[in-house]
């Protein structure tokens, strides 16, 4: 290198071959992934005659919201003809207690595992994490028996219990990692200040843990909302969550396939996780990163 000549990074042209390649690929991939959504939205806004004409990519000539109304309030599953609304409210009733209960227990678990180490706490944690590697299918039937013996098989609370238990490994791991990233001396200072197990948890730890709680809420809301397997196995038809009901509407073999209603129903079901992601996307990334720094 000589001392003469221009310095700094080499200036780049905006329309360089590299950029065209990069943005071209990105654009193509996004279109590829957005296409199904486009088809769904368009189909859900068409009437059946228009759908029969083919051309699934074309926007509707005559926009109608009738399929959405039907999906929400009139579609039949089995003997009930009150649409997805029943499933929606079932899902909400399953979701809220499951999310609250699982996060409450898991956060206390993580806190205790980090700060109040007891004899065998490492073994306890290992067993808990090991649980998350066992396929759900293996445990399906034993849990049916357990719930039956407890007398809550087929009830809402039975399903809430199942969701709480199956959320435990990943949530405990999440909280444990987060709490172990908080300075240990804070905990010591609080103990010298005479605070006990719960006082430290509520007064010191909780106020510092908002990001990780948001992450846990997102994980649980989307996970439990999207659950199909547990919902169909552990509840009865009148308590089926939205996903199960959606399946029953879409896969019904009687009558004409109402594609527009099916599409509207699917979009309605996916709306909740979608909204959660849009509202909290940034916090979600931040929280995941915060929990990942220290293990």
């Amino acid at each position: 290198m000589t001392g003469q000549g221009p310095r700094g990074a080499k200036p780049r042209r905006r329309l360089s071959g590299r950029n065209i390649m990069l943005y071209g690929t990105l654009l193509f991939v996004s279109l590829y992934y957005l296409l199904p959504l486009w088809v769904m939205v368009m189909t859900s806004l068409k009437g059946m005659p228009e759908i029969r004409m083919g051309n699934i990519f074309a926007p509707p000539v005559e926009v109608t919201f009738q399929p959405w109304v039907k999906a929400w309030a009139e579609a039949c599953t089995g003997l009930n003809c009150d649409g997805l609304s029943r499933g929606f409210w079932n899902s909400v009733r399953i979701l809220i207690p499951s999310v609250i209960l699982s996060i409450l227990v898991a956060s206390v678990n993580g806190y205790a595992l980090v700060n109040w180490r007891f004899k065998g706490s490492d073994v306890f944690f290992t067993v808990l994490i090991f649980g998350s590697f066992i396929p759900y299918q293996i445990m399906l039937y034993p849990i049916v028996i357990l719930l039956r013996e407890m007398g809550i098989y087929g009830t809402l609370w039975g399903l809430v219990l199942v969701h709480t238990i199956f959320g435990m490994p990943i949530l405990t791991l999440l909280f444990r990692n987060y709490f172990s990233s908080l300075p240990e001396e804070l905990f010591k200072a609080a103990r010298v200040d005479g605070a006990g197990f719960w006082a430290i948890y509520f007064r010191i730890m909780l106020p510092m843990s908002l990001p990780i709680f948001v992450v846990a809420i997102i994980l649980q809301v989307t996970g439990i909302w999207n659950d199909f397997l547990f919902g169909v196995v552990y509840t009865k038809p009148e308590l089926y969550p939205m996903t199960v009901q959606l399946n029953n509407i879409v896969n019904s073999v009687q009558g004409v396939k109402e594609y527009n209603v099916n599409m509207a129903a699917t979009l309605l079901t996916g709306l909740v996780p979608l909204i959660v992601y849009f509202v909290s996307g940034k916090l979600f990334v931040r929280g995941i990163a915060a929990g990942a720094v220290k293990g």
Binding site: P183, E185, L186, K188, A189, A190, R191, V192, D193, G194, A195, A199, R203, I204, P207, M208
Partner: protein, 360 residues
């Protein structure tokens, strides 16, 4: 003899198979300022955490103020603790931080206000009371941390390297402040540090630790002038002590290395005895550079370089096969390669047995 404030009896702590503290005994008098000094991993912070009740000990007893607190909760031991990282509760204001412990003890609000006001006055943090720790500087944070121990109105203060996170200037300011605080409150203080300046300036007595064992427990001047073993001698003092490896001869009346013989006359340790392997420890300020040899009292040396340090200057020499440093007035400049003699002040010297590393 004043009353005993803290008494540690045969304290042992094991982490699994690792022994961190080994049957350690320590008695601290009331109002005494004890500094636990040692390199990283020597067990000094561990000992402090045991005193605070933050670590469960394996064996032994801890007594504070005549009470056996071995298994008492930290808050029941009558201690206040200051941490290296300040450990202030980030979501609370300074006032909240100071009163958190008092609220846990269900103290009436009027009493809490009184104590917070007093601590704020002593530490001059009154204007900061409604700020959060995030809006404070490092020095202010550490004051608040000290205040949190102060409001508890306890007999024993425990400091866990409280100044290590501060810059040099603030460190020396707060050091003076802690000393002033001690003379005002007259509490018992146990102070952990790896900084020997802090130890020498603050302590009534220093406990030098290594490997979970107290090597020497004595007043700073004694530790400095009469280190109990080679480790203490080498750890205390900057620049560190010169060590000459040789032997004691003539029935313990002289020290010989590489053909140079030094008379041990005036050595305060008493009879040394003949040892085939011994170490003579000489601090840089206890050596004098002279021009002419005096048999039995000087070592021939060659100047290697000098380091002016402001108030004085440190001269490095090659003497009798060993590298030595001598502290001289800064005006005295010595040319490199100059041949001089080092006169030894034997009354200030230390002789160690090379095998046991103990002072003789």
């Amino acid at each position: 003899m004043t009353a005993t404030s803290i008494s540690v009896r045969d304290l042992t702590l094991n982490f699994g198979a690792v022994s961190v503290l080994k049957t350690l005994n320590l008695d601290v008098a009331e109002g005494e300022f004890i500094v636990l000094l040692g390199p990283s991993g020597c067990g000094k912070s561990t000992l402090l955490n045991c005193l605070a009740g933050l670590l469960d000990i394996t064996d032994g007893e801890i007594w504070i103020k005549g009470q056996n607190v071995t298994w008492a909760e930290p808050s029941e031991r009558g201690i206040g603790m200051v941490f290296q990282s300040y450990a202030l509760y980030p979501q609370m204001t300074v006032r909240g931080n100071l009163s958190f412990g008092l609220k846990n003890a269900r103290m009436p609000q009027a009493e809490i206000d009184k104590r917070v006001a007093r601590a704020a006055e002593i530490l001059q943090i009154g204007p900061l009371l409604d700020r959060k720790p995030g809006a404070l500087s490092g020095g202010q944070r550490q004051r608040v941390a000290i205040g949190r121990a102060l409001v508890r109105d306890v007999d024993v203060f425990l400091f866990d390297e409280p100044l290590s996170n501060l810059d040099a200037k603030l460190r020396s300011e707060l050091r003076v402040e802690i000393k002033r605080l001690h003379s005002r409150l007259n509490n018992t203080m146990v102070y952990v540090t790896h900084d020997q300046i802090e130890a020498l300036t603050l302590a009534d007595r220093i406990a030098v630790m290594r490997g979970g064992i107290i090597q020497q427990l004595d007043a700073p001047q004694v530790i400095y002038n009469k280190p109990a073993n080679l480790f203490v001698a080498g750890f205390i003092g900057s620049p560190s002590m010169n060590f000459l490896h040789g032997a004691t001869v003539d029935g313990g009346n002289a020290f010989e290395l590489n053909g140079v013989k030094l008379s041990l006359e005036g050595y305060e340790g008493g009879a040394v005895g003949a040892r085939a392997k011994a170490v003579l420890g000489l601090r840089p300020e206890h050596l004098e550079i002279v021009g002419a040899a005096e048999p039995g009292r000087t070592i021939p040396a060659v100047v290697e370089l000098d380091e002016p340090m402001g108030a004085d200057s440190l001269v490095w020499l090659q003497a009798a096969g060993a590298q030595m440093s001598v502290r001289v007035p800064v005006e005295r400049r010595l040319a490199r390669g100059a041949e001089v003699h080092l006169r030894v002040d034997m009354t200030k010297a230390s002789v160690f047995d090379a095998g046991t590393e103990e002072r003789v």
